[in-house]
Symmetry: C2
Subunit: 698 residues, 2 copies
Amino acid sequence: MGRPPSRLAAFALAALGASATLSSARADEGMWTYDALPADLAARHDFTPSPAWLDHVRSSAVRLSNGCSASFVSANGLVLTNHHCAHSCIEDLSSAEHDYVAHGFHAKTAAKELICPGLELNQLVSIADVTERVTAATRDLGGEEFQKARRAITAGLEKECADSEALRCDVVSLYQGGVYQIYKYRRFDEVRLVFAPEMKIAFFGGDPDNFNFPRYDLDVAFLRAYAQGKPVATTEYLRWSKQGVAPGDLTVVAGNPGSTQRLFTVSQLVFERDVVLVELLLDLAQYRGFLDQYAAQGKEQRRVATSEIFFVENAFKAISGERAALNDPAFFSTLVQREDNLRAQVSKRPELVRKYGAAWNAIAETLQRFAQTRRALLSIEGSRGGSPWWATSDLFRWARTIVRGADERERPNEQRLPEFRNSRLERVLHHLLGPSPIDKPFEIAKLTFGLTRLREVLGADHAFVRQVLGAKSPSEVARDWVQGSRLGDPLERKRLWQGGTQAVSASTDSLIRFVKRIDAEARRVRAEYENEVESVLVKNAELVAQARFEVFGRSLYPDATGSPRLSFGQVRGWTEQGSPVSAFTTFGGAFARATGRDPFALPKSWNVARPQLDLDKPLNFVTDNDIIGGNSGSPVIDRTGDVVGLIFDGNIHSLGGAYGFDMTKNRAVAVDVRGIAYALEAIYGAPEITAELRAGQQ
Amino acid sequence: MGRPPSRLAAFALAALGASATLSSARADEGMWTYDALPADLAARHDFTPSPAWLDHVRSSAVRLSNGCSASFVSANGLVLTNHHCAHSCIEDLSSAEHDYVAHGFHAKTAAKELICPGLELNQLVSIADVTERVTAATRDLGGEEFQKARRAITAGLEKECADSEALRCDVVSLYQGGVYQIYKYRRFDEVRLVFAPEMKIAFFGGDPDNFNFPRYDLDVAFLRAYAQGKPVATTEYLRWSKQGVAPGDLTVVAGNPGSTQRLFTVSQLVFERDVVLVELLLDLAQYRGFLDQYAAQGKEQRRVATSEIFFVENAFKAISGERAALNDPAFFSTLVQREDNLRAQVSKRPELVRKYGAAWNAIAETLQRFAQTRRALLSIEGSRGGSPWWATSDLFRWARTIVRGADERERPNEQRLPEFRNSRLERVLHHLLGPSPIDKPFEIAKLTFGLTRLREVLGADHAFVRQVLGAKSPSEVARDWVQGSRLGDPLERKRLWQGGTQAVSASTDSLIRFVKRIDAEARRVRAEYENEVESVLVKNAELVAQARFEVFGRSLYPDATGSPRLSFGQVRGWTEQGSPVSAFTTFGGAFARATGRDPFALPKSWNVARPQLDLDKPLNFVTDNDIIGGNSGSPVIDRTGDVVGLIFDGNIHSLGGAYGFDMTKNRAVAVDVRGIAYALEAIYGAPEITAELRAGQQ
């Protein structure tokens, strides 16, 4: 499924602020920005996309607000993405009576398409360079001054750019702050669910097959963008390929890779390997054990926990793979080598030593200090405006949004915490006011688990733990919070948001009161981190990036930053322990792998259709495109601009991709569009969807 | 609670075979054997124990067959140990009707004392050196030959020594194989439960306070040794101290420290830090999440899972502490320094280089190879004859004992797997045939969890996983096993054991058949490990140990090996982040810390008695004795030989003790005997026990 980019941010703090480039990049490696394609593209792939080709792909490929990728695939706003990217929506729309996760969803007519709460699409409109304005604003500043100035200039630039509700603008820090750009997007804030297959085939093979290939998943969902209650009419969509792809064909992936750490300094990599990833895995492992057993209690418990299990299993496997990569002595030594090489070049030139020489040690020392305070930061504040790691609760998240949002909106835009800038508020409200249902028993169980673990991690005598628990047990506190809160009601959330600080002060809601009580301390640890850790890391990472530019020049790609990128590759299998792995799988392979037991059970629809099926139809395939979590849902495009596949995963070797790209083995995994169309017609009785997809074919 | 020594063996494979000495040991550090006390004992503590003093302590202090320590404290065979050491017994004797874990147990008369299933006591009778015979038998051998010869000589020596059912003999490898000794014990195989307080006070503060101090636990249980159905009459018992101890008083701890790794080579420490401990923590974290939520389902589920939760929480905290110690750069660098120092000395003398120079690299290379096969070994065979890590199931354990036991008993004693030697069979039968009840739903849940994780760890396509699951899901396999097995019935286990290979072959029991089916492969991976990994590690660790002897001489203490040891220290607090921590806590402190909510809820008996209590009575205290897991239940003895306390834990700084001893902060935590007696009289109405304890006082 790929490492999920957004929700993990709450855990993976150290990844922050880091982007960098490789010194040896070729066209087959890298996640390239639309305005700076690899120089050897024509030579390696005999491909030179025209400006029109690029504009069309840029507009057709979109970003989902949950961090996934997607693309327009019809003139009526039909959108192709992964089932796992639409999973929260499918789950939100489900109930004990209508379980669309289990049974799938199919709106035969537009009138039956259902709104996905809180989901929006962003379509990249333009990119502009703002490096000079950003760097001028922060020059010679440090600590709190640096943070304030950076926040102010970023907020100012984004506001200036997004001059209408229909737009969104993000300042993106590329090349570790070597380059700042502003990305302008058109927003589509009404998205409806059109079609989703059963979870059993969307995620056939489940966690065991996740990040593996051969694979047999129909990890597909169709959405539709609406505006003013009507389907969006557009000419910017990808044509559905007639003939599909074959081994060796050029494949272009247009998506939003979330985050890579390919040029972390060695001290950052060691911190990642020994602290960040291990602590994250331990949190996830315990949470996973809890969730699995919660789900084992009954059908309804399984239904409400499935999405969370899905997320945790995927994250656990992804991060285990990243840790394994960093623990591989051979791989790690190439990363050390790379830094040694750069530093050796720097040390030869006194002016470079003077400008950049101290940066590596400054980062190492800052991380050593940070190791002492990291757990408290993540426990009290969380990272990047997310929740503390133990509070995997919608109610808590809403309470914090309401309490902070009230305070922040009383400040000038440019002095606010970034997540409450005007340019972000629309999205905040989507999350806050959407009708996502909550399940009280599950909320109580999650908070009980989280509070118990909080006490374990910080210790029973930690001031914050005492403040949270007082003389009560974790389960009592969890029950009091959930029973004493009306935040499960969207109207109450709306009332509090609109009422601002006055309504918040007057509220007797248990969670609102709790969040208010801890907010000063939470803001304090956040500010301490930002001023004393983050600002030093950002400043010195900029220096390392500049040193790299000076030594290796600039024809490189930046690390992934969750913004739109292109990756170039081809359909290609690989060799696994001496045996070739073929690039394609078929419908027949799915039936061969099925055991009838979860997660290797096919849905009834497939078993019913089986006698009539052409088992040789292609289902999934692999390419050597360089992708990472966030690319889920990306279209795979051929040289004519037709969509030939849908990225939904990487193979097991792709997990080291966070730190480096191994072209011999790292593979992207996609659903074949021929398989999608075939399933829609032969299994799901959805010829109206394939007709819509094929309407653009010539 | 201290790291539990025996059950963890299934996880902590790499600890195997390693024992070593420090080069800077003083009397206050170290776990000393009875036959080799520290040379500076008189100088540091003005204490020179007479041979009679030593003989008396050696005979009065005993080892429990579950890896804990204990001591005789009356002429009628009364035995003092920890509640957590007797926990399995208390749980086994409990039922939904009689919950002795929750409510405590008190046999007012001998007739009401209940047999602890499978528990036995070992009393050290003598120690003899067998170094020459062992080394002569294995000289110049390697791989399988080495293993066979080592196994044969060990079996022969133990058999020769234990010439009656009433005896047990163990060959102990001290100083990393530099010294081999045979320890002869008298066995007491009938042990009954006399008294246990409520879990709430035995483990007051629960996991949050575990490994912490100040502390307020009555972690006490009284057992009684029986022979032929009568209480054992003995003169070898510790007198109950009249006046107790004061700060600065000499304290001798007589117990069975399980295992330390103080002179692992650096490559072993790195392997431990980055592979062994992290994988172990991940297994435990997930299992813990599962268990906690299993227990949350209801009262009966909590009752059956409590012991397992107890074990897992303790292990998780202990191992986290060990990992933290190894991840502390300052601490780790002292360990590196120590090896550098030794190797520098070796490198100065060509004859030492020739004999020992290659040993460190041989260990490092072997571990690097082992990293590739370790997970499969632990998944298919487990370590040291234990179960595979995923099979935390009594039924599985019994099935393996029956299947292997049948095969092994057909071989000559000296060719058997060590755990089935004649000298071990009595203990095997205790475990196999004891009446320990099983809870079917819990067995199914545990096996479902374990099999799911097995599939996750090895991958769905691993041959062993396919063999185990076939086309079924983990929960189906678990259910089939448990429903299709009659091994929950002790009589059926007895029938199969006595029937040998014939009965096993004829059995249709689901688990017997499964274990038979995988046994050849399990034995193969075990043999491969023993011949290609273990033998190389043992041989080269011997070389490192010999090099250490040659460089630093021999007046050192060996690493802990689960055999009886003495540790010398004094009652002493420490300074925590600038604040002094007093050495004693009182009954009043317990009431002050109580919140009324688990794990900070006192039992009803305490709250009822409170108005009448003298709140200044001492409850717990700390000493600077050097202890480790396995010392739980050890008596703390004063210079006159009286018992003044009962070890039950270490402070948080004691967790690094696996790798080194920090005398400024590492503290042992004990229950004060004055507090025990006071609670028995003022709270539990058990004057007959205190009368028995005081009968020996003069």
